[in-house]
């Protein structure tokens, strides 16, 4: 399975994007997001980027006001996921130009679409930025 979910949460703990690759009910999601936010946002900068939670791990990275939290299986390669987060951010950067929290909020559909081009069913599909963005640009053209 690999990646179980991708969350983007601002430093107030508000969810800005949530994509799950295993089915959770709304209540479960709410509880999980609450727990994770409590755990991760309280951590100091010099602490490591991995947090063990229930029976999986959260690999997270902070960019300005936004936290990117990725839930992965225990035996996933943590550093590879950590850099995958960065790849996602760079990709959004290339599209939005200096991406910020507001871009993701107001262009939720594009953020979702980009993520969908990168991760499918918890596995990495594509890591080339231009291949990821081609369909997104197509969407811009047609709408």
């Amino acid at each position: 399975m690999g990646i179980r979910f991708v969350l983007m949460v601002n430093k107030q703990g508000q969810t800005r994007l949530a994509q799950y690759y295993e089915w959770l009910t709304l209540e479960e999601r709410r509880a999980l997001e609450g727990e994770i936010v409590r755990k991760c946002l309280a951590r100091a900068e010099q602490q490591c980027s991995f947090v063990e939670h229930r029976n999986y791990k959260i690999v997270y990275r902070r960019y300005a006001s936004l936290f990117f939290l990725v839930g992965v299986d225990n035996d996933e390669n943590e550093l590879a996921i950590l850099e995958f987060i960065h790849l996602l951010v760079e990709t959004m950067d290339r599209h939005f130009g200096n991406v910020c929290e507001l871009d993701i909020m107001f262009h939720l559909e594009k953020a979702h679409f980009m993520l969908e081009e990168m991760v499918m069913n918890g596995c990495i599909v594509e890591t080339s930025k231009s291949s990821i963005l081609t369909p997104v640009q197509l969407m811009d053209k047609t709408s």
């Binding site: 951590r43 490591c48 047609t142």
Partner: protein
């Protein structure tokens, strides 16, 4: 910053953003939901654009944590929109909101299929992505061949094929029985030759799934993986777009090395040489650089290479390089690298001969145990736990105990459990064990589970040399001013049992011991009082010659608690009081507890349970599992019906395999029963009836229907091998001319059924006698005491009790007196050993004379199969591989039971629990299925794992 034309959505998002608190947000969301609902209701006026806008709003609202079930239909309907923008929204939002079990999804299957087989690439991609994310069984059934075709098609562009690969992976994982991967070896090999790195990345994930399931089929792909790795590591033909900070796709490198870890070895010398060259380059050539991203990416590859080298465990020299690297990593400041260093060193413990080298780093690891970061402390704790053995247990446990006082609450329970296990497993000497464990209880009382102190008691009871030492220590701890409740319990228990060994030491007279314990009495909670009462009773017994003052003091306490509202306390107080007045009898009854049978420490079991699961298993675990697949599997099927079970049919007796299940025969013929071969069966039981157990334990339903109704073929039941006619249908009816005059009180069958689920109760009663039973079960041993009580004022004579054991049970009945005096009760213990699995039941042939009446009854003894079960939790990765590895009878039985109404899940769970089958919740992806595990004990099989899976499928009646 408005969305393209979706102004309403932007306004809504701004509004939400401006909300000051959750309540305002809720109000705004409610308003919007009302709006969306109304718009959806009058669908006529809705343009596709508007629909799209509202569906996005729904996703947004859903992300905020509000229910949007009402709009699922709208999202799904957008999939069928002819234009790309709407269709795209339909696909993305549907895969976010719905899961494979949603009925609406079915409506879209045709559209999805048309999109997949159509010519429009972008539509293909959208459809494949959605199916890849949420596709379930029906999708697999109707789409798998098309998806396979796309993946392998040479005319298809990479952007479609990479999605097809992961789509197929999903369909295969969810329904391995539907997606046929036989003969995929060649196709997979072909896919691994792919030049496009996007397709290759996806295909590698698919490959990992296939290989993890059956590596043997994919040997030929192994050199291809090595080739891919070589291509990346040497940066040959890797497009710029796929290099990340100068590193050729670190993700594909990692995935490829992961795939290689599913092969046990690499035999081909050439492939092996190339691989080791690549690994060597990675191990030696990864330097620490300034750029964080580059550093992380290169170390991601390095750590995966380490894992692969450890897995291959081949080149001594390379292994020592790995250890050296890890030793370096666990000492660096950079927290991520240190964390991973500790984690991987723990994995390295699994490699043989590495323990000693790792032990050299003990001091360094202990510093990490004190790191401010809990993630790092956890890893350090795990590593210390794993590397502990007799040589370093003292140091490590003392380190853990010291850390316990400052550890954060989140870790204390785990820490205490681990310290307790290590102390027990590797104690260099027994007194050290007692010291360590009492210190542990003293320091971490709140985090000490009952298991821990129970284990101390077992340990001390079983080691005579330890008893007086433990008692002395317990006394010392009780002397402290503030003592934790658990410490009071364990000390009271030990002192009650063993303080008499200290009687000669100063301050240890029974009276003094009593006072020390009783001092704590006002502060302890109710749950501790029973332990104190037992300790008092024991002290009283050990006080020889009796000390009248102490006696009065203790009696006063018993008296006080005789009216306690807590039943347990009340009973103990009353019984101890009565017993302690019996003088010498007290000595027998309260004698020292016998040694506990040696069994796996409950603590270690608990620790094993706590081990976390992962979906994709590591290669090492997988191998371990492949080696132990001779587990026994039992499918439980609870066929019941309102009517009493029909007479037993002879096939039943042929079922000699251990099984909790009743078999087909219990169903009336009209309940057409089909046994599905090869596929997992559906079990759809009706609510349990009183006869459920009769069904379960069916073969010898000797007290079932009245004798007359039992057809003669009943005798054919050969369950009791070699004991003819015992199971005659008429057996239960008292034999003899005057039998009719003595009627049993209560229903014998019901009593038996009740006793099958509990361990004490009445087995039989008539106007003259009551036969009670009390039983204890440990693994394949059982001890059963028959209480024969004469209810009359005149004696019962010619009492005879005979056990007719089935072949699988060894039963020894102690002597039964010929006469039971008036109003007296005699006890007859029975020792039972379960030799092998069988569902036959032992019978007690009991007779006595009262006046002129001769009464003879044959009673089934509740020494039934579930008494030899011990519930055991099973994790998903233990369960399913074993489950699948058992293909069919005799090790796996499955039954399909059709019925109108399934038994409520909870009821079913309770039922399984009462048979000592432990429900493992959350194991089965479908919440309506129950999965349970248990261990069956018999002398010939010893502990045997039994698994049960209960699947409930509702079938729609096409007529409705």
């Amino acid at each position: 910053m408005a969305m393209h034309g979706m102004r309403g959505l932007s306004v809504f998002i701004s509004d939400i953003r401006n909300c000051q608190n959750k309540e305002q947000e809720r109000l705004r969301v409610d308003k919007e939901l009302g709006n969306v609902r109304t718009r959806f209701k009058n669908e006529k006026g809705l343009t596709p654009y508007e629909k799209k806008k509202y569906v996005w709003k729904m996703l947004y609202i859903y992300m905020l944590g509000y229910d949007v079930d009402f709009g699922h239909m709208e999202a799904v309907s957008l999939i069928s929109a002819p234009k790309y923008p709407e269709k795209q929204v339909g696909y993305i939002v549907t895969s976010s909101l719905l899961n494979e079990n949603h009925d609406f999804l079915r409506l879209a299957i045709n559209t999805v299929r048309n999109d997949i087989i159509g010519r429009n690439e972008t539509f293909q991609c959208l459809a494949l992505t959605m199916v890849g994310n949420i596709g379930g069984r029906e999708f697999a059934e109707s789409l798998a061949p098309d998806v396979q075709k796309l993946l392998l098609s040479s005319s298809c562009r990479p952007l479609v094929r990479k999605k097809a690969a992961l789509c197929l992976l999903r369909l295969y994982r969810k329904n391995p029985d539907v997606v046929n991967v036989d003969g995929w070896t060649d196709r997979m090999a072909q896919l691994l030759d792919e030049r496009d790195l996007g397709v290759l990345t996806s295909s590698m994930s698919l490959f990992v799934a296939l290989v993890s399931n059956n590596h043997e089929a994919y040997w030929t792909c192994l050199p291809k993986c090595v080739k891919i790795l070589e291509r990346l590591a040497r940066n040959l033909d890797v497009p710029q777009e796929y290099t990340y900070y100068g590193i050729p796709s670190p993700w594909l490198q990692v995935k490829t090395m992961r795939a290689l870890q599913y092969f046990p070895t690499i035999e081909d010398p050439n492939t092996r040489r190339i691989l080791f060259e690549v690994l060597q380059r990675i191990l030696m050539g990864t330097d620490v650089v300034k750029n964080v991203n580059k550093n992380n990416a290169s170390h991601a590859v390095l750590f995966e290479a380490l894992a692969l080298v450890m897995h291959l465990d081949a080149e001594k020299e390379m292994m020592s390089q790995c250890v050296a690297l890890l030793g370096k990593f666990i000492a660096v400041r950079e927290p991520n690298i240190r964390y991973l260093g500790l984690e991987n060193m723990t994995r390295m413990l699994l490699v043989t001969d590495m323990q000693d080298i790792i032990k050299r780093h003990q001091a360094q690891i202990i510093t990490s145990l004190k790191d401010p970061d809990i993630s790092i402390r956890r890893r350090a704790l795990d590593l210390l736990y794993g590397m502990c053995d007799v040589s370093n247990a003292k140091d490590i446990v003392e380190e853990l105990l010291q850390y316990l006082s400052t550890a954060d609450f989140a870790m204390r329970e785990e820490l205490s459990l681990k310290a307790a296990i290590l102390a027990e497993k590797f104690a260099p000497d027994l007194s050290w064990y007692v010291d360590a464990i009492l210190q542990l209880i003293d320091k971490a009382g709140d985090f000490i589970s009952d298991d821990i102190w129970f284990r101390v008691v077992q340990f001390v009871t079983n080691n005579e040399d330890l008893q007086s030492y433990a008692a002395a220590k317990a006394r010392e701890f009780l002397d402290k001013p503030a003592v934790h409740e658990t410490m009071v319990k364990v000390s009271a228990y030990i002192l009650g049992e063993f303080s008499h060994l200290l009687a000669k030491s100063p301050g240890c007279s029974p009276k003094e011991i009593f006072n020390i314990i009783h001092e704590k009495h006002p502060t302890v909670p109710t749950s501790t009082i029973p332990v104190l009462l037992s300790a008092y009773a024991k002290i009283l017994m050990h006080t020889q010659p009796p000390d009248p003052e102490l006696q009065n003091q203790i009696w006063a306490i018993f008296n006080k608690y005789e009216s306690c509202i807590d039943v347990e306390i009340q009973q103990r107080a009353a019984e101890y009081f009565a017993l302690s007045r019996k003088g010498a009898a007290l000595m027998d009854i309260l004698a020292e507890m016998p040694k506990f049978p040696e069994r796996q420490s409950a603590l270690i079991k608990k620790a094993e349970e706590a081990e976390v699961d992962t979906a994709e298993q590591s290669a090492i675990k997988l191998r371990a599992q492949q080696q132990m697949s001779n587990a026994l599997v039992v499918i439980d099927q609870l066929a019941t019906n309102g009517a009493p079970p029909p007479p037993q049919v002879n096939q039943l007796s042929l079922v000699k395999m251990p099984s909790m299940s009743s078999t087909a025969d219990h169903n009336p013929a009209d309940q057409a029963l089909s046994v599905a071969n090869g596929t997992l069966s559906t079990v759809d039981p009706q609510p349990p009836s009183a006869d459920l157990l009769g069904d379960l334990l069916g073969p010898l339903a000797i007290e079932g229907p009245p004798a007359a109704a039992v057809p003669s073929e009943h005798n054919v039941v050969s369950g009791l091998e070699g004991i003819p006619n015992v199971v005659d249908g008429a057996a239960i009816v008292p034999v003899g001319e005057e039998t009719n005059s003595v009627q049993p009180i209560g229903n014998i069958a019901e009593r038996f059924h009740a006793l099958c689920l509990k361990d004490s109760g009445v087995l039989y009663e008539d106007p003259y006698i009551q036969i009670g039973i009390k039983a204890e079960w440990r693994a394949h041993h059982g001890r059963l005491v028959l209480f024969l009580g004469n209810k009359n004022t005149s004696p019962l004579v010619s009492v005879q009790a005979l056990i007719l054991p089935p072949a699988h049970l060894k039963i020894e009945l102690s002597l039964v007196p010929e006469t039971i005096p008036p109003r007296a009760q005699v006890q007859c213990p029975l020792e039972i050993v379960n030799l092998r699995p069988s569902r036959d039941v032992a019978v007690l042939d009991f007779s006595y004379k009262f006046g002129t009446n001769t009464v003879n009854v044959k009673l089934r003894l509740p020494a039934v199969i579930n008494k030899f079960l011990q519930p055991i939790p099973v994790s998903a990765e233990e369960f399913f591989p074993q489950w699948r590895s058992l293909s069919g009878p005799p090790l796996k039985l499955q039954e399909v039971v059709r019925s109108v109404r399934p038994m409520p899940l909870l009821e079913m769970a309770n039922l399984l629990n009462s048979y000592c089958l432990m429900i493992c919740s959350g194991l089965d992806p479908n919440p309506n299925n129950l999965v349970a595990g248990t261990t069956f004990y018999s002398e010939s099989t010893r502990a045997m794992l039994c698994l049960v899976r209960n699947i409930i499928v509702s079938v729609f009646d096409p007529g409705n």
